[in-house]
Symmetry: C3
C-alpha cells in the first residue's frame, strides 16, 4: 500500500513530485532575483560584499526589500505545503481532488511571486493568489490531522 | 518494513502525522494573526496594500513585529522538525519515546506562540517552551545522524 | 521498490538521512549562535527579554544581524533541499551521483555558515559555498520535475 503511495506510478505522488520540484526551483529563483536587485541598486548587507570602497552597507532599498518579503512569504507558505502535501499523499486521497489541490498551490504561488516581486499588480491580485494556496494547504492539513487523530 | 513505518497503522507515524498537521495549521494561523495586527495598527509594508491615500508604508509597529518574530521563530524550529520527525519515524524508534517527543514539540511550540504573540507572558515562559522543542528536535536529529552514519 | 528506497539499507537514503540530520543540528545551532551574540552585545528584541531596567530593545546590532542573515539564508536554501533531497531519493538515482550531491550540499552549507557567521572570510568564499549548494539543489529539483512530468 504505502509502497504504491510513494511510487511514481501513483498519479497523486507523481503530481506532488512535479509541483514540489517546480516550487523548489521557484524559491531558489528568489535568491537570484534578490541578487539582481542588490546589484542594480548597489544595496549590500555585508561589508565584505561591497564592490567599491565608496559604498556602505544598506538595508532599506524598497526593490530589494520587496523581493525579500515575497521570498519570506514563500518560506511561510510553500515550506509547510511541502510536508503537508507529502503526508496528504500518504493518506491515500482521491486523485482528482489531490492533483487539483497541488495544481492550485503551484499555480497560485507562482502567480503570487509574479504580482508581488516581478510586475507589481494592484490588490487584490496578491491577496487572491495568497489565499488560494493558503486554503488548499489548510484543507490538506485538516485531512492529515483527521487521518492522524482517528 | 518501510511499508509499515509510513503507514497510519504505525502508531509512531500516526502521531507524527497528527502533530505535523496541527503545527502546519498553527503556522498558517500566524499569517492571519499578522494580518489582524496590520489592519488594527494600519501598518502595511507595500504601497499597493494601503487602504487610504493618507497612509504610508510602515515597518516598525511593535505589535506587528512581535507576531512576525514569533512566525520567524516557527520557520527556524518547526520546519526542521518536520523533516527530522519523518526521518526519525523511518529509523523505527521506540513508540513510547517517539510519540512523547512529537507531543513535546507540538505542545511546546503552541505554548511558545501563545506566550510570545497572543498574551505576552514574562520570561522564562518563552525560553522554556523554546528549549523543550529544541531539545526534542536535537535528540531526534542525533538519532537520525547515528542511523545514517553506521 | 519504494520499500527499499526509503530503507537504511539503501545507501542513497542512508546518506540523505545522515546529511539531513547534520544540517538540522547545524540550523538549530544558529539559534544558539544568535543567543550568544544577543547576550554579548545586550541586544534584545522584546521588552520581556531585557535583563536590566536600564536596557532598551535594540534591533540593529551588526553582530546579531549577521548571524540572523546567515540563519535566514539557511531557511531559504537548506529547507528546500530537505524535501527535494527526499523526493530525489525516491526517483531511484545513481548512488554515486546522489551521495556526492548530498555531500556537496552538506559540506558547502557548513562552510557557508563558517565564513558568514563564525569567522568572516572575504568574498568570494561565501558566494562559492552558496552556489555549490544552490547548484546541487537545483539539479535535484530538475530531476524531480522530470520524474514527475513524464
Amino acid at each position: 500500500m504505502v509502497l504504491e503511495l510513494l511510487s511514481l506510478t501513483n498519479p497523486v505522488f507523481k503530481s506532488y513530485t512535479f509541483w514540489a520540484g517546480v516550487l523548489v526551483l521557484k524559491m531558489l529563483a528568489m535568491s537570484m532575483l534578490t541578487a539582481v536587485q542588490r546589484f542594480k541598486t548597489k544595496t549590500f548587507a555585508n561589508p565584505e560584499d561591497l564592490m567599491s570602497p565608496k559604498l556602505k552597507v544598506k538595508f532599506d532599498d524598497p526593490n530589494v526589500e520587496r523581493v525579500r518579503r515575497a521570498h519570506r512569504n514563500d518560506l511561510e507558505n510553500i515550506l509547510p505545503f511541502f510536508i503537508v502535501g507529502l503526508l496528504y499523499t500518504l493518506t491515500n486521497p482521491s486523485a482528482f481532488i489531490a492533483i487539483n489541490l497541488f495544481r492550485a498551490v503551484g499555480i497560485s504561488r507562482i502567480a503570487h511571486t509574479l504580482v508581488y516581486a516581478v510586475v507589481v499588480v494592484p490588490q487584490p491580485a496578491r491577496a487572491l493568489s495568497f489565499f488560494v494556496a493558503l486554503g488548499a494547504t489548510a484543507y490538506m492539513a485538516l485531512q492529515v490531522i483527521l487521518a492522524g487523530a482517528f
